[in-house]
Symmetry: C2
């Protein structure tokens, strides 16, 4: 069956109406509300075709139609028009980013808040991480009599602390000396390069503080492993409860369960380095509890090869077009702020 202009118009009418009302929509309503120049009977015939094509469904016989996942998919892929974000929203994002660009963890927290505020959906933001993290600096700091903090800085501006227990905390001078040794060996190397082989070699060369060094090295390896353990921030979970499709408490519970598990969120966001906006509609998501939700996600770039992800979750009837605009606006503003920063520095 051919999808002619008229069918598309009707499908768009159904989708746009359903997005705003969450109520099934019938032929008469379309005829009245949208000026398509055809009667409800004709619309009825066309709707029957659309249903046959699997683009819309009837929740129950003799009710109006509702877009199917396939219908949304077609709309999103082919007919969705992109709106540009309003000036003031762009400004809002710009300010939010500029104010937090130096504190990555605040930035992602505030980003989550801002996006959930703008879209009224639930927002997940993952901490940016480099595809190939390079160590920039290591520093040991005394914590108390028996513990040291190892601070590690990567080129992705990620700063991580890790406590390590020792028999007795050495003096600051010793710690500084040790930090220097670590730096000369590790600085500029990617995380993958710091493997058991290098570590054993280092241990052999420095037998002086060998016991301490050995403990420190173990910690370095641990941090490096845990650096994949990205932080994830969530905002706007309560919005979920505002949608009629989740007034069934059981459904809402399933979603909250997923949102509470950091690992699931990370799986959800995935780890593609695709820079464009991706849309996952309803059943396309492999997680059972998420089959009534859609997820719109994108990756943002915070520097050379440093990517984080941001995802927005809502009911399948979410306002795809608006969310895509907001995400594109966000990514664009991050770029703008970063460019402004780097040109400022080079001047």
């Amino acid at each position: 069956m051919i999808l002619n202009e008229r069918k598309i118009k009707i499908l768009e009418a159904i989708i746009s109406d359903y997005i705003s009302t969450a109520e099934p929509i019938g032929s008469r309503t379309i005829a009245k509300k949208y000026d398509l120049g055809i009667s409800s009977a004709t619309i009825r015939n066309e709707m029957s075709d659309l249903e046959e094509m699997g683009l819309i469904v009837q929740p129950h016989a003799s009710s109006g139609r509702v877009p199917s996942d396939k219908g949304y998919r077609l709309y999103v892929d082919k007919f969705m028009r992109q709106k540009d974000l309003a000036e003031e929203q762009m400004l809002f994002l710009h300010n939010m980013i500029s104010n937090n660009i130096n504190q990555i963890d605040y930035l992602i927290q505030e980003t989550a808040k801002a996006i959930s505020m703008l879209t009224h959906y639930t927002t997940i933001v993952s901490e940016p991480q480099s595809q190939k993290t390079i160590l920039k600096h290591l520093q040991l700091i005394p914590l108390d009599e028996t513990s040291i903090v190892l601070v590690l800085v990567t080129d992705g501006k990620i700063v991580r602390n890790h406590n390590l227990q020792v028999k007795e905390t050495p003096s600051i001078d010793v710690l500084n000396k040790l930090s220097n040794i670590l730096n000369t060996y590790f600085q500029g190397h990617s995380l993958e390069e710091i493997d058991i082989a290098t570590v054993t070699k280092l241990k052999r060369e420095f037998s002086e503080h060998s016991e301490l060094l050995s403990e420190v090295l173990t910690s370095v390896v641990e941090i490096i492993q845990s650096i994949d353990n990205v932080q994830v921030f969530l905002s706007g979970t309560k919005n979920i409860l505002g949608f009629p499709e989740f007034s069934d408490v059981e459904k809402a519970k399933g979603i909250f369960q997923t949102l509470e598990e950091k690992e699931l969120l990370i799986t959800l966001l995935g780890n593609s380095s695709n820079e464009d906006v991706q849309i996952i509609i309803g059943n396309e998501n492999s997680m059972e509890q998420m089959k009534d939700c859609s997820l719109i996600k994108t990756n943002y770039k915070l520097g050379n090869q440093i990517y984080g992800s941001i995802g927005i979750i809502g009911p399948t009837r979410m306002d795809y077009s608006q969310v895509v605009s907001v995400l594109r606006g966000l990514v664009k503003n991050i770029d703008v702020v970063l460019k402004a920063l780097s040109s400022e520095n080079s001047s």
Copy 2:
């Protein structure tokens, strides 16, 4: 009116029944279910008295009775029996604590998870902070061409990073030198002592790196101010939806709204240094949205004068006795683990 033995038994029956069923309970049910040796008519008379005393209420005429906030309060203060935590639960907590005692932020995160798992209520844990934080160490670390990380360690084992922007990042040697200066001046001083006066004095003495020093000092002050900005972890929010009293989505939304605001959570946990378990029932809480909830909270001690708080939120009919046991068990285990650690070190 006198609250005799029999009235107390009936009140306890009502409370314990309501805690588990969430259904109003009538005189006949009590007579059948609880072997009090009196007829339903007598129970009826007694219940009438209990209602007059404000300890129970009828949700509507000719329904069973439900405990009032005042009823719970009386029960909690006078009649609640404390159960001891089961061996395996103690062990579970002990292991959780030992595994995380060296990483404070993990510890509080895992604690939130563990407690919400054990109680099935929502758990809030705030990062421990000292009543009178003393600086132990400051360290400047290069981040990139124009930013430095200032790492600050307190005697409360709190480690905080703060980025600061500079015109040009100095060499590591300069940073180390500066770190040393900062340490000689600030080490061992409490946060309150580091005020504008000290800072200005320091600035005057060291005019050499004055501009840099000035920026660093501003940051130090900023961190010190933000150190009150404690982290808070939440777990088990989804449990809220499991309780019939919150199947009204609007009520649930109000609570979620509160839980999403960190500031509100901190207000909720308060900042008393009282070490015993406190119970706030329904309307006793000043927040409007929380008037259908009870909050059970306690402070835990992680060292000399270092306290964090932990709070558990549930419906007013929550199982006070169980929650108190779990909290006491947790606090006890923290003590045990800390003692074990310190004796291990001194040996």
